[in-house]
């Protein structure tokens, strides 16, 4: 199974190993024909209409605005419906530095996202703290706070890089078992068990 998105040949992706790993995981226990086809249909729909949460703390957010405008036009891919409420969004583009005061807010926003949910760490600040890593008030990457699906490096990443990142995410959505919980879901539950927040996780 070659997992790719529309008009992007499989060979053009730079990192097919990880997606092949996910495909193998998906195949491991075999699939019921009916459930498998239904999965495929649902994932096709979901991967082509990923709605981002408008969440930007700094510079990367401006490149995200450029991404939404006419030149880079993320509407081509079905991502243009940027939602202001986490309840209506599918994924969170963490564009910018997360500082200590923001951490609880950021974590709550993540908890408020409706399942299934995804996170893209966009830019070096979100990945590792970036140029502010040594600061007393900056979280050294968001990986300790929420589980991350895709990392987009850059300071800030170019809009093309962001497009590539979200395309990777839509590929990931395609190899998920919507009903069975293979791939994404278990990892997330493990993560939440290791990083609990009072009153949010049951």
């Amino acid at each position: 199974m070659e997992v790719t998105t529309k008009s992007m040949p499989y060979e053009a992706w730079k990192d097919n190993e990880y997606i092949e790993k996910l495909v193998n995981e998906l195949r491991e226990n075999g699939t019921n024909v009916v459930v498998g086809s239904l999965d495929k249909l649902i994932n096709w729909g979901r991967s082509n209409s990923l709605w981002p949460l408008t969440f930007a703390t700094s510079c990367c957010g401006i490149e995200f605005v450029s991404l939404g405008a006419a030149r880079f036009d993320m509407a081509r891919f079905g991502w243009e419906v940027a939602r202001s409420s986490p309840r209506q969004a599918d994924f969170m583009m963490v564009a910018g530095t997360i500082v200590l005061r923001m951490v609880p807010v950021f974590r709550r926003l993540y908890d408020q996202l409706a399942e299934p949910k995804y996170v893209i760490a966009c830019g070096s600040c979100a990945i590792s703290g970036g140029p502010f890593r040594n600061s007393y008030h900056v979280a050294k990457g968001i990986e300790d706070i929420v589980p991350v699906d895709v990392f987009v490096p850059g300071c800030p990443p170019r809009p093309e890089a962001m497009i590539y990142g979200i395309m990777q995410l839509s590929r990931k959505v395609k190899v998920e078992r919507f009903f069975g919980g293979v791939n994404r879901q278990e990892k997330q539950e493990e993560f939440l068990a290791a990083h609990p927040v009072d009153g949010v996780n049951d």
Binding site: V65, S66, L100, P131, Y136
Partner: protein, 543 residues
Amino acid sequence: MSNISDKIQKLFPDYAVEEANVPIFTVPQEKWHDTAVALRDTADLALDYLVTIVGMDWTENLGAIYYLMSTKYDTIVGFKVLAAGDRQQPYIPSVADVWHVAGLYEREVYDFFGIIFIGNPDMRRLFLNIDWVGYPFRKDYDADPALNPVSIESERQSDFTDVYSLDENGKVVKGERRIFEKDDFVVNIGPQHPATHGVLRFRTAVDGETIKKIDVYMGYIHRGVEKLCENLMYPQTLHFMDRLDYFSAHNYHHALCMIIEKAAGIEISRRAQVIRVMMDELSRIASHCLFIGTYCMDLGATTMLFYTLRVREQILDIMEKTCGARMTFNYDCIGGVMQDLAPDFVQDVKALLATLPANLKEYNDVFTGNIIAKNRLEGVGVLSREDAIAYGVTGPSGRASGWACDMRKLQPYSIYPELDFEEVVATEGDSMARFKCRLHEIEQSAKILEQLVDNIPEGECCVKVPKMLKLPVGRWFQVTEGCRGAFGLYLESDGSAKPYRLKIAPPCLPQAAVVDHITRGQKIADLITIGGSMDYIVPDIDR
């Protein structure tokens, strides 16, 4: 400059004066409040604009340097006040009743240095959590992450603020004061809100639909840039300027390079000067374009974003060809600029200038003259000239209130004195005036570019500068014009290769704080109109 020094010395003969690029007088802390009133009210000084308060830790004592400016005489002067008391509880009398914006700056100094300002009505922390341990900008700050761990628990909130006073024995007494009245209905707007332009939080007390009071809560993107700079060498500190107000990246870079060059006595070539100014003005156009786009989008006119981003992308292309990046350019360096202009720079700028008038006309046709826009903007959020000065609102927002505060004119730097451009000043002070000021500033920036585009002199773009740049002992202060207003930089050197203190005085901090003042009594729907028209950038507020 010597003129103002003489005047102050005549008035206060016993204050020692230190000659720096801006003269600094030392004032004993017990006389500071009376001195401040005199400085503001004496007719031939009229120091009515507080540029910034620089908190300082000189290890043996703590203190603050106040930079004041006169809007009447365009003079600038500093006052150094050493804190009384020991390091556990240092204090200085507050001047929040003299210059309104001082209340905010004092909170910032308290947050970073732990200096208590006696009489400040709101002596809370500004950027850090209520329970933060230690004062990070002190030289003996313990940065152990165990003291202030990363926590996903919500931070403690308080309805009370601290006030400090002195009792008859001269001891500091702590008191409490309510931020909101007891039966106020408080709504949280932000930090995650699409129209706060970033992660700013307004705790808004409302009476029905009318705003009673706003408590502006900052620090959701406080990254401690000033402290980080103290551990980096001068060329390394530059890149942080790109990430404060990322639209004024060139302007801020220019400012920091200039102050370091001034301190080190480096003369840069004429070509580099011209390139820097051209980049500044291109940034200004791009910044104002994005302002127009996002502001109109906040008000519901989403189409404008696409029109204005078209121009912005054109400018970003020009910059990308020369600087190699779309944002965070890191282009200006100590001694000039990183690399020479791209071969088709001149041609591209000319193409931009050719299309700009048609674009501006389009913006005016689509939005400015629109009856909906007029109804939503005109007469909304009026800021008077006096208040703009008292609250330190500079830039296009201040100029819309009739205060001619363009630092390119008041504190001329680089090649600006030779250029022919007008300072855009309006008198209405409402949201529409602030919007129009920015539109007209685009025209003026274009005018500057037109003068320069054919006159870029030949020569080297960067002079040789030692890699281990050490500055002489001293302190420097300088105000320049970013895209959003007066950008102050204070640099203190102890003779090493790293700054002893680098204070950044951003224009956006007072602009966000003034929202409380101008929204009182307005409808809550107008909060977006008013906040948007101020055009603050949150990473610039928080640093």
